[in-house]
Symmetry: C2
Subunit: 231 residues, 2 copies
DNA sequence: TGTACATCAGTGAACGCGCGTTCACTGATGTAC
DNA sequence: TGTACATCAGTGAACGCGCGTTCACTGATGTAC
């Protein structure tokens, strides 16, 4: 089907992205350099331009691949998970953390400080970037539909403008959940990534907590409470 | 008291740090360059070495100043805040967010992806770095002492190792609070910074939420619930 | 099946640029007597 | 108060380095007839 040339090309493309990822880890996103990638690829620097239009385009490829790798990790973890929504939420959270700890630099490219002078093009990055929150929202909606969640003691008041945003979210993801759950869901989402970032970026002191995995499990317990799971 | 020369030196030092902060904003931490700072200072590049031993030392100065600026912002906000612990927690959270939005690059230096090839020296950065969580823990302990918090429905089980870490935290900050509150407190802490990072680093889509300040207020409500505030 | 042509991967030189850091120096400011 | 010396801010040249990107090119691979 494909010619040898086409296969070689695909292989080289993969090599470039792999080397790019390695450089992310050793030198950081800001220092990602096509010349250095070319060196590791064993090729003269201008040759890389046959594959990638510019340094920024390579960054975008890595961003898109990264969101997809993370999305795959979460989706795969959920495929093997039990039906219980509480447990599925834990499984998804653990998958995010495990992936981030395995690929700290790649995670940093996606969720760390923005790379100066580079803005990820929305057309290419939004869809993959939305996969994790989409998966989480599905779990939230399932928990709600199954009557597993206790609503707020006092009604959650949301302005018309923000209620409109919440309605858009519901539409986009095809959900049927109340505003209070959207509010809690967004909180759980950002809290989850906050905990993972603190862990990956080493914001707790080096040895403050003896067992960070256990600490994360406590965080998951707390997030389940926050979402409203009845015991 | 001080000689003109000493005063000029102090002024130049401040200028260097100010310019460094500006470069953080425009070019990012990884691209912070002593030559560029010298250029903006209107001085030949080698002159900067009279003030700063190396590029990394300048980074460390900015990190320390950053933690202190954030710590000051939180402390000052709390000075003017009411006694109610719930409100104090909100005030502290808003202060963190406001500072981060006003100084996104500086915030990114402190809480974003690590700068490749640079590690902040613990001796200088730990004390200032710990100020915000110290302030939060005091609020948590006050809320607990005032009987404002509901404990967990089911007991929180913590391994001996992690319980030891929790005990160390209690000692270090002179607190008298149960393990479940340390667990929730750490969660609130990382969740708060997760929400602020999502906001500052633009991880929500550009226009997903009509009013991010209001969204953050909902997050604060949720964090208060998570901590255990009775209504 | 063989040939002529088109496509394309990779080369090597060049462009103009910026970086951190060292060093010997000049000239102004500060200090001890 | 005046002078001799020490301190120190800033200069300018140099070191060796890496960067993104363009361009004309060679030679191998693929394709149309």
């Amino acid at each position: 089907m494909s010619t040898p040339r086409a296969r070689a090309r695909a292989q080289t493309m993969e090599d470039i992205k792999r080397i790019g990822r390695e450089h992310l880890a050793t030198h950081g996103a800001a220092a990602l350099s096509l010349r250095a990638v070319a060196r590791d690829l064993g090729v003269v620097s201008s040759a890389v331009y046959r594959y990638v239009r510019s340094r920024d385009e390579l960054l975008t490829l890595l961003v898109v691949d990264g969101y997809n790798a993370l999305g795959d990790a979460v989706d795969e973890a959920l495929v093997g998970a039990p039906d219980d929504p509480a447990e599925r939420l834990r499984v998804a959270g653990r998958a995010v953390r495990a992936w981030a700890l395995a690929e700290p630099a790649w995670y940093g490219l996606l969720f760390g400080s923005p790379v100066p002078g580079y803005e990820a093009p929305a057309e290419q990055t939004v869809d993959p970037g939305v996969r994790v929150i989409a998966a989480l929202l599905r779990v939230f909606a399932d928990a709600y539909a199954a009557g597993r969640l206790a609503g707020p003691a006092r009604p959650v008041r949301v302005s018309t403008a923000l209620a409109g945003s919440f309605a858009n979210v519901r539409d986009e993801f095809g959900l049927d959940v109340p505003d209070w759950l959207v509010s809690r869901g967004v909180s759980v989402w950002s809290a989850l990534f906050g905990a993972v970032s603190f862990d990956v970026f080493d914001m707790y002191g080096r040895d403050t907590f003896a067992d960070r995995t256990e600490l994360f499990e406590l965080m998951l317990d707390n997030l389940l409470d926050l979402l409203g799971f009845r015991d």
